[in-house]
Subunit: 112 residues, 2 copies
DNA sequence: ATGCCATATCAGCACACAAGAATACGAGGT
DNA sequence: ACCTCGTATTCTTGTGTGCTGATATGGCAT
């Protein structure tokens, strides 16, 4: 019963999913898409980042299956494909309210 | 109602939490701790990684409030401090079974 | 006090990745 | 056909981060 270690493949998959969410700009993009699909241009405006940068991060999110792409003429509309992402964020935010320090050390070694 | 963008501070906090989980070794450590606290030595054996490396990653997890540390003599026992982490992993794993490709592109542009 | 063991930290290298600038692709309109 | 606008891709640079090996700290036993 010594903790059946999951395959490295699965481990790497999960890690890569989390890493996709470990970037403020990508979280901002997902958040912006929460109230419906948006074009790249709209997302550029919302995030305040450059167009190439937004496009690139959208590609990452799409590769991870987190957003979908719909081409309409010259425009490209992106939309949330994995609503469960917001549950993850809420879970993290919930713990934050419980008094965790954002940065710095959690607690010094066991004091004497 | 145009999507109240969360403060950059909160965004960065959430991202950093996800980034802490975006490493296979750290996920492995958390998984190994699922059936009770373990010493660093035990974790070194379970993960097959080096002792300094395990110690370092444990420090990261502790800094993020994901694990706790209990010193007993020369030993240091670590334990899960944020059980919700496994819910996150399960959520990600659940979507994986739904037919997402691990790597590569999710879908080509919208076909004509 | 000294030697040993478990853990933590430090220095260095290598790699991944994000941001910016410039450019290529592709669809529509005139 | 050409031009224009929106989007995607490439190249380069800089920063962050994981891994290795050596070293420091601290408790326990002799």
């Amino acid at each position: 019963m010594a903790s059946t270690t999951p395959d490295p493949e699965t481990l790497e998959y999960i890690a890569s999913q989390f890493r996709a969410l470990g970037e403020p700009l990508r979280l901002q993009l997902l958040h912006a898409l929460q109230d419906g699909e948006k074009s790249v241009g709209e997302l550029v405006e919302v995030t305040g980042s450059s167009q190439p940068n937004v496009s690139r991060h959208l590609a990452v999110l799409r590769q991870r299956g987190l957003v979908t792409r719909r081409a309409a003429g010259t425009l490209a509309y992106f939309a949330i494909a994995a609503p469960y992402v917001f549950d993850l964020c809420d879970a993290v935010c919930g713990t934050r309210a419980q008094g965790h320090s954002t940065a710095g050390d959690a607690a010094p070694q066991t004091p004497p």
